[in-house]
Symmetry: C2
Subunit: 245 residues, 2 copies
């Protein structure tokens, strides 16, 4: 098979299609438009009845079955799976196997309207505004937590998990900070409460817990107060001001 930027097959018969997929799936991203039926067995199980779906097979073993709506595929297989294709009873059968956990997706296709194989690349990708970006800025501007706050350790390991930011307040109390890049909820309060409850209590000092987020739900605020914890509002816009200068 010589190199082409893309290859189109219109109305291939199942045997032709099976052969084409076998030869090209490690080199091309394959897009298949066909009437199809999908069964999945693994961590759960599902069945998608016959209709016209869009199937995508990537060189890394990713498999996607898309419907006409929604961001997420109806069925899928993550990277690392093995794809096989064959013709049986005039039906194209695509099988994707995942070793661990043991999962399988089987797609029957008939008829096959179009197969498009494309040579995709990934351009350089950069992302801004994540949680670790938040913490980096607070490390450089501790007063964003409160006056006198002194960071001790970022990502402090405990028996029960990692504390985002550990520090001390001006009175020498331990301060445990839990960061969220979006609205904080009860789960996040529960997590902070666990850290504070189980942190080794130093003599003559308290252990404070502060939830740092751009917002907090009513229930979460209630739980926070009940557990004697604190909330520090910190939003994207404020952080942006400290980002460069």
């Amino acid at each position: 098979m010589s190199y082409e930027k893309y290859v189109i097959l219109e109305n291939p018969d199942p045997a032709q299609a099976a052969e084409f997929i076998r030869l090209s799936w490690r080199r091309y991203v394959i897009v298949i438009f066909a009437r199809s039926m999908v069964t999945y067995r693994g961590r759960a199980a599902s069945r998608l009845d016959w209709d016209d779906h869009l199937i995508i097979i990537k060189p890394d073993g990713t498999l996607l079955v898309h419907g006409p709506t929604k961001r997420d595929p109806i069925n899928w297989q993550p990277p690392g799976c093995t794809v096989t294709s064959m013709e049986r009873d005039n039906v194209l059968v695509i099988r994707s196997r995942r070793p661990r956990p043991r999962e399988e997706v089987v797609i029957d296709c008939n008829p096959i309207y179009v197969i498009l194989a494309v040579d995709i690349r990934r351009g350089l990708f950069r992302m801004y505004g994540t949680e670790s970006w938040m913490i980096s800025i607070v490390m450089r501007h501790p007063e964003l937590i409160e006056d006198g706050f002194v960071p001790i350790a970022r990502e402090h390991q405990t028996k029960y998990g990692i504390i985002d930011l550990l520090g001390r307040d001006r009175e020498g109390n331990i301060v445990i900070c839990e960061f969220k890049r979006r609205m904080a909820d009860v789960q996040h309060v529960a997590q902070l409460a666990l850290y504070v409850d189980t942190f080794p209590r130093p003599k003559g000092a308290r252990v404070r817990g502060i939830l740092v987020a751009p917002g907090i739900s009513d229930k979460a605020l209630l739980a926070l107060k009940e557990k004697g914890l604190e909330y520090r509002r910190l939003n994207h816009a404020t952080l942006m001001k400290y980002a460069e200068g």
Copy 2:
């Protein structure tokens, strides 16, 4: 534009492509293979440099930009967004706007290798093995928790969240059950601990907390014991035996 099951455009010029997308995006799922550059601004921000990517536009306003690997798109826009397309400086510019939260994805394309428009449908879909399926089976077979366990309420509302299953043991103690369909971790223990800590304590009875899951992480088990909570192993295979008969 007359109805076709699918339409293929090879090497369209940007103006042609823009026109085609404008006319067909509410009726077809559009698959575009083009050299492209993507910028995203919204809850966060990102930039994907020029390279050959796969772009999918669905009739519900979903937008996907896929690379050669991974299950998830590099950039995307969820259902409900508005797509516009235009030609500018011989570049196809696709713009997707989401009203709330206010987010925008802009894709510049040049050259455009192929555009494929397909009429996709979604077949009937059924799923098995979810968490609510687990709880339903335990409701009918309370002995799966322990002998003498009596369910009181499924999805019991508290101030801080919903308890999956509330019941009593043979000695009349309150039992709070938290279900997980997969390996339980510290987060889940933290959540259960919060429910138990804040549950109204009845006179002369204890409040027990049981985490019901097919497995539990070491850290989670440690935290569970520290908080005096319990773990009941319950896997998929066991539940399947009780599913029908």
